[in-house]
Every structure is written in C-alpha cells, then in structure tokens.
Symmetry: C2
Subunit: 203 residues, 2 copies
C-alpha cells in the first residue's frame, strides 16, 4: 500500500483516472441553478461552514444576506467580521440565547421578526447567497411555521443559493434541499478534555 | 410531542435545565489553550468551516495564517476574499490539482515548500489561528513526512489554534487533535441531482 502510493507511474495513472472521472461528472452536471444546502448534525463546523461560504461568495463579488436565529445578544466573531462589509446585510435575532430568556412568546416573536428579514432577502434576486444560521433550531422548537418557511425557501429566485445551519434539521427541509451534510462529533476537547470553549475557533 | 414543545411551562423548564447544564460544563472546562481541530469526512463544508473560523478569528482581532495544500492554480473565492486582509498571511501550494500535474516528484516538492510556509506560522506566537487547508490530502498521499508534521504541530505556541481540513484524516493526527468533526454526505446535488458545482457555494 505504502509502496504503491509512492510509485510514480501508478500515481500518474491514478491521477489521470481521477481527472477523467471528474471531467465526465462535470460534463454530466449541466444545470446552473441556486442550491439549497443544509448543514446539520451534532458536530462542530456547521455555522463556520456557512460563514466560510459567505466569504467565498463575497470573493466572487456576490451580495450576501445573513440572518442568525436563536443566538443573539453578544456579537460573535463572525458578526464583527462580516456586519460592516458593503455587500452584506446582517440581522441577528434580538433575544439572546433562548435559555436566557425562558419566555416562549418572546422567542416566537423574535423568530417571526427575523424570518421577515429573511423573506426580504429570499424575494430579492440581488442576493446571490442567503445564510440562515441556526434556522433548524427555530424550526425544531416550532418558533416558526414550517410550511411557510418551506414555501418561502422554494419561492426564492432561481439562481439564489441558500445555506441553512443547525442541529436536527427537519426531514421536510432535507427533502427539498439539494445538498445535506451531517456533521458528526468524533472527538471534542470541550466535552472530553476539560478545555474551555475558545475564542476565535468556537465563539 | 408537538404539544409538549409548545407548552410554555415545559419549555421554560427545559430551557432552564439546559442553561444549568451548559453553565456546569463551562465551569468544569477551565483550561485556556490553543486547540487543534480536524475537519474530515466525505461531506461538504470542511474547508468552508475552516474559512469560517478564519473570519471568526479575524473578528476577534487575531492574526491568521492560511496554507492551502493540493488545490492551487486558480484562485478560489476564499483566496480572493481573504488574501489581501492585513491580518492574513496566505500561501497556496503552487502546483494546481494533483490530477493536472500527474507528476509525483513535483507534488512532493510543492508540498514541502508549502509546509515550510506553515512551519514559519507554527513557530510564531503572533498567529492566533493557522488554517492548514487540505493538509490531510498531502499526508494521505505521503507528500509530507507525517512524523515531522505531527512534531511541528505539537511544538506550536501554547495559545495558537490550528485547523486542519481534508478527507481521510490520519489516525495519528486524530490522536493528537482536541476536536475532530467528521462531515457525512446525506444528499448531494452535484452527485445525485445533475446540478453543476456552483460558484459561490462550492468553488
């Protein structure tokens, strides 16, 4: 195995095969359209991945909309970094962590107000990418009407990409998504090793 | 289930319990230190997640180093977006996709040169976060000496965070990591639906 991996001829042959496979797949995949991506599961990296896609989209000159559900109150590193970008519209649901408010009616109200911000983006083809961070949590707690959310997502402009993050994605959302990634925890310092959540990578 | 989730008292009780659990866990986790995160698995979002962490770290005023292994040649959206940031040092391994070069010796040379750039960051405590994008690929193809890589990672400044991305993370790397997330594909438009890889979210 080790020797094969290092053998230059086998290596070149494998890479050539890989290149052909990728080109064939690219040729098959013809359709250009906005995709709905769902990033879910208990592992780290769901929101980070969404924000990485924001950076990528901005790098391509796109206009980006971001709505953060549930987490509010204190500014995250991402918020500080992206909020003032001229091509970014940023809204944070104003009620802080739900376990700090402990008031369902207020949570529902805040979620509905945040969804209105999202809908404005989902109706505007100027937005190339819309990130709905932690929307899955708002759906799971039924802060929002799921049917309305799905309708609004499906009615978006044809070329608009949407990224939805959060654990426990609803099956109905997965059904209408183009791409779904499930993040699994293999090992976690915060849980396993007594290391505090670290600013910069986790907060 | 649906009714329970909507009951305000049960909701408040559950949120209060969640808050206590989180506070207890935070109190237990005392140690402040740089963490080594590994993002692996076949699902989407590994590199995006790393770049999201870059944005987060920059939002906290940290200095960030980025080295991209394997993928080079054309500028990604992330590269365009982050390369000129005053707090970012960015290096891309210069040889393009390995399946374009098909030359093992050149790949090894390029990987070694890229590792030297990484080592300069890993020895400099001024860098709060170092992203080693797709390093797992370079290790898997044995373009780099694994023992040396692990030694350099472990010898880094105590408060420095490192994020390593790419499929098929080596077990020896997982062993020294603080947090490991495995991205699993649940559904993929590019594979399943004939949709071309989309600029902004995937390229």
């Amino acid at each position: 195995m080790r020797d094969n991996a290092k053998d230059p001829e086998r290596h070149a042959a494998r890479m050539a095969k890989k290149k052909r496979a990728i080109e064939a797949r690219m040729a098959q995949a013809q359709e250009d359209k906005g995709v709905l991506l769902v990033l879910t599961g208990p592992g780290k990296g769901k929101s980070s991945s969404g924000f990485g896609m924001v950076a990528r989209a901005l790098g391509h000159g796109m206009k980006v909309g971001i709505v953060q559900f549930i987490k509010g109150k204190f500014a995250t590193g991402e918020e500080r970094f992206f909020r003032d970008h001229p091509d970014v519209t940023y809204h944070v649901m104003g009620e802080g962590y739900t376990w700090d408010t402990q008031d369902r009616a207020r949570d529902e109200e805040a979620a509905s107000a945040a969804w209105e911000k999202a809908v404005a983006m989902l109706r505007d083809p100027a937005y190339g990418l819309v990130l709905l961070d932690e929307l899955n949590i708002a759906l799971r707690y039924e802060y929002l009407d799921q049917d309305r959310v799905l309708d609004d997502l499906m009615a978006r402009p044809e070329m608009q990409h949407v990224v939805v993050t959060g654990r426990n994605a609803k099956q109905e959302l997965i059904d209408i998504a183009d791409t779904v990634t499930e993040m699994q925890v293999e090992k976690h310092a915060f849980k396993d090793g007594g290391v505090r959540a670290q600013k910069g990578v986790e907060l």
